[in-house]
């Protein structure tokens, strides 16, 4: 038997509410981490996964306290240890890699110095040896030219590089256990795939145990040997990762896997009803009872215990796991999207270019924007009425920038935005009349930021109704209730504040506010990326339903290719503010593709241990689009030579109407990509 390095026994952590009640965040958690194994802890926000990971290094967040149980490491209980003794363990024996490395690194100290600090604390090396060790560590996390990286400041590195530095710092103390709290969540898809591959390599190379906390089953699937699924502070399922992902025997995991959109399936995944109970609101019975499709009468009043199944080496907390075991292959069924595509074009973007360059005085005086290499250039898209067009690309690809200009929030440098083939829309808000503002509405990524925290839901939805239609009194109220019903929220939500709503409910309110204006076009800026997976599917289904009811056109910006695949009719791929590929979504997801689309598709993580991401190109970040030639020349693995560097590639159109902007002939492209 392999050695157990961390033993969590009956751990309960919670806080006291204002009324003095004890409210549990973690309920009676027991698990073991073995030497050399990678354990993935997965769960929705609020499931207690981060609290558990922090407890594993003896840390309990301010305001919370340990109610019972212990975290045993090297046969001593971390939660009872003195700070002085903990300091000897943290960093040396247990290290943590935070979610946002950019914030975890001190901004005004050089990378080398920060790693050196970690080495001074956690190792007994002499100064000379430390210097060597720094470049060794940076080499290990595959940072190019360690000597120069060590002399840089954190802000001079890209997000992926910062995360690598954080990994290097964690490795400085040669820890036995690495805790990773959502280490790739803020990164681009391609970078994420690279970082995960690196983590896998390090786990094998150093034999370190890892605890990988994430909400993303796709990422968990790539790294972990064993998976712990958490739900409202409890472990509901624990077992070997392949079994859990292929044959989940707990209804929550089953539902979760079904609600994740997949690249191979067009159409919307099924959503799980309801949301996770808030801590303290749990009653008797199974905490998943309200949302479970397999529940029975006994689940309502009796809470199931974690049951160990020897045959599967799995623990499960469900009365009905046997019936699930028989047919629990995740047969994903999707709700096919109906397209009410009309031939009429509703929005035309022609030759749109946008620049962020600081204006020179002369240009300011003449009120013009001059920049020969603008951030966004040559955008030609014709959007049909009733379609959902998705703009995809990594951060910095200009997708949100284009949305802003369509909404009138950012002045374009050139080009025409035409509505309904008649009216030119100015990209300056002040020059648009109120009706032009009404027809285009925005839904934002993070509903926490897009809803005023000091307004009630009623006030939030009333704003567009008052502004555009001048509604008052009873009529206003009736309209608000109507809109709330359309987004499946009850009337009683009117008096609530955003902080009293869950993430999904908030996003529904934001959707209701956008639809209140009766718009023709809705711009969706990463609307689901701040939401939990099970909620994401529900919001996508809602958006689709509303689109069918109202005939709205969506311009959907996302970095998540699987989500885009699920909801969009057409996809436009952007790199460095230039279009690479535009076409019907089923064709974009098939070869031949633009080499950049190929990179993106290869990096998508699926919750399936058998599908490994294909890392086609390096994850370097380019800061500026190239002056001439193809925008993707810097990272393209299929680069032809000088032609790509000097000439802007032509648009090539496939038989199914997919346009690809590449110098490589389509047939050849298809041939090399399929192999």
């Amino acid at each position: 038997m392999t050695e157990i390095i961390q033993k969590v026994k009956n751990l309960s952590i919670g806080f006291k509410s204002k009324k003095g009640e004890e409210i549990l965040i973690l309920r009676n958690i027991s698990t073991n981490i073995k030497k050399g194994e990678t354990v993935g802890i997965v769960g929705e926000s609020g499931s207690g996964k981060s609290t558990l990971a922090l407890a594993m290094m003896g840390y309990v967040k301010h305001g919370l306290y340990t109610i019972g149980g212990e975290c045993e490491f090297n046969s001593s209980n971390l939660l009872k240890m003195k700070n002085r003794d903990l300091e000897k363990i943290r960093g040396r024996k247990i290290a943590m890699i935070p979610q946002n490395a950019g914030q975890a690194l001190t901004p005004n100290l050089k990378i080398g110095y920060q790693i050196d600090e970690a080495l001074q604390l956690h190792s007994d090396l002499e100064e000379k040896e430390r210097e060597q060790k720094i470049s060794e560590l940076l080499n290990k996390v595959r940072l190019p030219s360690p000597e120069t990286i060590a002399l840089r400041y954190p802000h001079e590195l890209s997000g992926g590089q910062q995360q690598r530095v954080a990994v290097a710092m964690a490795l400085a103390g040669t820890p036995d256990l690495l805790l990773l709290d959502e280490p790739t969540t803020g990164l681009d898809v391609t970078t994420q795939a690279h970082v995960l591959e690196l983590l896998n390599f390090i786990a094998k190379d150093t034999g370190t145990s890892m605890v990988y906390v994430s909400h993303d089953l796709g990422a968990i699937a790539q790294v972990s040997d064993r998976i712990i699924v958490m739900y409202s502070g409890e472990i509901v399922l624990e077992g070997p990762s392949r079994d859990i992902l292929k044959k989940p025997i707990h209804p929550y995991t089953y539902g979760l896997l079904k609600s994740i959109p997949k690249l191979s399936l067009a159409g919307l995944p099924q959503s799980m009803p309801g949301s996770q109970p808030q801590p303290g609101t749990m009653h008797r019975g199974c905490s998943f009872f309200d949302r479970c499709n397999f529940s029975e009468e006994k689940c309502k009043n009796n809470s199931p215990q974690l049951e160990y199944l020897e045959k599967l080496n799995t623990s499960v907390r469900c009365f009905n796991h046997k019936s699930l075991m028989n047919d629990s292959q995740v047969n994903q069924t999707v709700n096919k999207i109906k397209t009410s595509l009309q031939d009429k074009e509703i929005l035309n973007l022609s030759e749109v270019s946008i620049s962020y360059a600081k204006q020179k005085l002369l240009d300011q005086v003449l009120n013009r924007i001059s920049d020969d290499n603008p951030t966004v250039k040559d955008i030609n898209i014709n959007i049909k009425k009733g379609e959902t067009i998705a703009l995809v690309g990594e951060s910095g690809s200009g997708k949100s920038t284009i949305l802003k200009s369509i909404a009138g929030l950012l002045r374009t440098k050139g080009g025409i935005i035409k509505f309904d083939q008649k009216r030119n829309l100015s990209s300056d808000l002040k020059e648009r009349d109120p009706n032009d503002l009404r027809i285009i509405q925005l839904i934002f990524q993070n509903p926490d930021e897009s809803l005023n925290p000091n307004h009630t839901v009623e006030e939030i939805i009333a704003q567009p109704l008052k502004l555009y239609f001048g509604l008052k009194g009873e009529e206003l109220k009736k309209n608000i209730i109507d809109l709330l019903q359309k987004v499946r929220l009850g009337e009683f939500y009117m008096s609530r504040y955003p902080r009293q709503l869950s993430g999904g409910e908030k996003q529904r309110v934001a959707v209701a506010r956008a639809f209140a204006a009766k718009p023709d076009i809705i711009l969706c800026d990463e609307v689901t990326s701040a939401l939990d997976v099970s909620v994401q599917a529900a919001v996508l289904n809602l958006l689709q339903q509303l689109k069918e009811d109202f005939g709205t056109t969506y311009i959907f910006v996302s970095h998540d290719l699987a989500v885009v695949r699920a909801i969009s009719d057409r996809v436009a791929v952007l790199y460095q503010g230039r279009l690479c590929e535009v076409g019907p979504s089923k064709d974009v997801y098939q070869f031949p593709s633009h080499p950049y689309t190929e990179v993106l598709l290869g990096a998508v993580l699926e919750p399936d241990p058998d599908i490994k991401p294909k890392l086609v190109a390096e994850d370097i970040v380019e800061e500026k689009p190239p002056q001439k030639g193809c925008s993707f020349q810097g990272r393209c693995s299929r680069i032809l030579g000088d032609i790509c560097k000097n000439e802007v590639p032509p648009w090539q159109i496939t038989s199914s109407g997919n346009s690809i902007r590449c110098h490589i002939p389509l047939k050849e492209l298809q041939k090399v990509q399929i192999n």
Partner: protein, 297 residues
């Protein structure tokens, strides 16, 4: 604690909100002390004319510089006036003038700050440089200039103090607005086409109100000190009106042998300032804008 928010349910009336804040403030020892001192001073200011044992301007040469006794609790001053009477009356003018002064400071400072934060660009640059220029002038010099030109009447003092103490609020309000302005709900309101006025009133003010109120409360205590300094220099309240600053100024030469005539107004002034300061701190904590919050890890 933030986690508790989930247990609050329906919308509360304004009265309920205010009383909850006051209860939270009083539940902390420092907040309780501060509030008690402040309330004591305010009540005293209201009732002192009715409870004062003597006439504040009755000069009695036979009673010069009497030590505290059963008859004259805090003793008498160099003109034989009762120090107790003059002390309990001495806070009234200062409190009134600085209270209204702070309101004016809050109003103009807050609104200008929010406006600058919202519009940004050149307008913001120009206004903020003017504010900086004013901040660089020692306020007491400028006050002395104004007071000597326009006199020491209440109608001059209130707006003058309000102006000088509002400069700092402009910066705080602008910074608070900057925190809010980048949030998507402002972008969303802009994209819908709301006017600047509507954005300030509906979207920004509810979010920066707390920060500005706390700042205003702090300014109030500084203004009180400032006003007393003016009186001390002879530019505030004119004799024989009792005023702490004036009393300290008159009696400071006698400190070595008649300490009582200077101790009482000093205690009055400093306790009020401490009271306002503690209250403002507790207010900030009750609203959740604690300036000394610990780092999360």
């Amino acid at each position: 604690m933030k986690l508790d928010n989930i247990y609050q349910e329906e919308k509360k009336s304004n009265f309920a909100k205010v009383s909850e804040i006051i209860i939270t403030m009083a539940s902390r020892p420092s907040g309780f002390i501060g509030l008690s001192i402040l309330i004591f001073h305010v009540i005293l200011a209201f009732i002192s004319p009715y409870i004062a044992p003597y006439d504040f301007k009755a000069i009695n040469p036979t009673l010069m510089l009497q030590a505290p006794s059963a008859e004259y609790w805090f003793g008498t001053d160099d003109l034989g006036r009762d120090v107790f009477t003059r002390t309990i009356l001495g806070g009234r003018t200062a409190l009134t003038i600085t209270f209204f002064g702070s309101l004016i400071a809050l109003l103009w400072g807050g609104l200008l700050g929010i406006f600058c934060g919202l519009v940004g660009g050149k307008t913001d640059d120009i206004v903020m440089r003017i504010v900086d220029a004013f901040l660089s002038i020692p306020w007491i010099l400028a006050m002395l200039l104004i007071v000597s030109l326009l006199g020491t009447s209440t109608e001059v003092l209130i707006p003058a103090l309000g102006f000088f103490y509002g400069k700092g609020i402009v910066r705080v309000a602008r910074a608070a607005t900057h925190d809010v302005i980048a949030k998507d709900f402002i972008v969303s309101a802009r994209a819908r086409g709301h006017s600047n006025f509507s954005i300030i009133w509906n979207e920004i003010i509810p979010n920066v109100r707390d920060a500005i109120l706390v700042e205003g409360a702090m300014r109030w205590s500084w203004m009180l000190l400032g006003f007393s300094s003016l009186s001390f220099l002879g530019f505030g309240v004119s004799p024989p009106t009792p005023d702490w600053g004036l009393m300290i100024s008159n009696a400071r030469g006698l400190m070595s042998f008649a300490y009582w005539s200077v101790i009482a107004p000093i205690v009055g002034l400093s306790s009020l300032i401490i009271g306002i300061n503690l209250t403002a701190d507790a207010f900030a904590k009750a609203l959740g804008i604690d300036r000394s919050t610990k780092a999360p890890v």
